[in-house]
Structures are given as C-alpha cells and as structure tokens.
Subunit: 158 residues, 2 copies
C-alpha cells in the first residue's frame, strides 16, 4: 500500500468517526426533543423539572443541592430555580440534613412522588414507542456498544 | 405462560428500554462534556460557538439567522448573542441576502474559516480518541443501529 493510500484511509476513517458522533448527538437530540414536547403537552412541565424529580424519586432521603446538580441528566434548567418552583407547588420540600442541621436536603413530598410516578409511567411508554424501531436483540447490541464506548471514555483521564 | 409472567416480562422490557435511553443520553453527555472542556482549554471557546461556526463552514453562501438556529446541534447558546460576539472578533460577517437585501445572512469571514478549520482538525482527533474503544466493525454497527432508531422516530409524526 502506498503512503498516499494509508493517508487517504486514515482521513476517511476520521470522517466516519465524526459522522458517527454527529449521528449519536442527532439521535439523542431527536429523542430528547420528542420527550420535551410531550412533557409540555401532557403535563405542562419541562424536561429539567422531570429530570430533577426523577433524581429525587431515586433518593428517598433526599439530596443536597450540590448532589442534585451533579446528577441532573439534562441541561437548560437552573436547579435552584426549578427547586423553588416545585417547592412553591408543594411537590418538593427542603429539610434540614439530620447529620448537619445547617445543611438543607431536597426531597419529594408525598404529592410530588405521586405526581412524578404518574408522569414517569407515561414517559416510559413514550420511550418504549420511540425505541420500537429496534428489535430486542438490536437494543441489547446498542446498549452493549454504548456501554463499551462509555467505559473507554471514563477510563481516559481528561 | 401465566398472565403474571407476561406482565412481569413486559415491565422488565420497559425498564430495559428506559435504561437504554438513559445510557444513550449519558454517553452523549459524557462525550459532549469532554469536547466542551477541550474547546475551552485549547481554544478558549464554547461548544455552541464551535457548532455555529461548523454550520457556517458547510454553508459557503452563509445562512439566515432562522436557518442557522434550526441547524444548531447543541443547546445552551443564544444564536444572536454568539453571532454578535463572533462578528465583533471578525470571524463572521452579516451580509445582505442577494435575493432580498432587507434580509441578512451570516457567513464566515476568511479569518473565521481559517480559525474554524484549525479547531475542527484538532476536534476530529479528539473524537477519534474518544471512540477508540470500539473497533471499526463495532462503530459501523453502532452507526447502523442509530440510523434505524432515527429513521423509526422520524417516521412517527409527533
């Protein structure tokens, strides 16, 4: 193989990887956009609000604000502002940390948990529909490939 | 199979799809986060700025503001504000549309194109490194699966 061939191939490979990244980003954006619109239409709520309640649903003892911010999966929301809004609606409460009463934890109220579970159950149905273009084996393969990719990136210190 | 088994399986499948979506989102966020940090460290720039210049690089005649907004791949930036900033640095220019001189198009200046190409070439290397955890065949498979998923979602009117 001539040096020119090797160089051409490297370049083509690079572009291919770039296209793969843009496809990954576009697919995620597409799904996220659908979910944002449905949360708005069905529950007049936003994805960052849903995401925040979802993080609290998995943390029965509540979370400190810093932990909550770190766990958020979507951008575009101010965690303090969202918490204030949800608190005003009685869906979350700020409570003193039992180990250090100067620190506040945020947790779902009973009403908040009920409201979240209702949305979450419908949300899960949307996700099932959106992913219905893949067979079960294809979904397993996609999950495996994403897992490998994530593991490789996590292992690389940045 | 008893009804209870079927129900249990459906529920397990649903959760599996939800986990797949969260993994897709987390992987995209992880890569996006690495790129945001490197753009900052290496070029003191942001991903929305890079994204905007990248859209203009593919549009030699420039784009109207509305088209530019629609083509953006990342959130978190105000397109007008970014354009103002890049214009002040001489990297983009607003020029009257040849077909309707009341309409402005944004395009890269020569300096802007040079600056973008320099960043883009390094950016491509980061992407190649980040995806190096997958073999060429695995990348092709991932691309194919994402393509199917996107096609299915696009075909569903929302």
């Amino acid at each position: 193989m001539s040096p020119a061939d090797a160089e051409t191939r490297v370049t083509r490979d690079d572009h291919e990887v770039l296209r793969l990244w843009l496809r990954l980003l576009a697919t995620t954006n597409l799904i996220e956009g659908r979910i944002r619109r449905r949360l708005q239409d069905r529950f007049t709520t936003t994805l960052p609000r849903f995401d925040l309640m979802s993080q609290l649903d998995r943390a029965p003892d509540g979370l400190k604000m810093g932990e909550l911010s770190r766990r958020m999966m979507v951008t575009g929301g101010n965690v303090t502002g969202i918490t204030d809004g949800l608190e005003a609606e009685g869906l979350v409460a700020r409570i003193p940390d039992p180990e250090d009463r100067r620190v506040l934890r945020v947790r779902l109220t009973t009403a908040g948990r009920r409201a979240f579970r209702l949305m979450a159950s419908e949300h899960e149905g949307w996700i099932v529909d959106l992913f219905a273009g893949l067979e079960s084996e294809q979904r397993a393969m996609l999950s495996d490939l994403l897992g490998r990719l994530k593991l490789h990136i996590r292992a690389k210190e940045d």
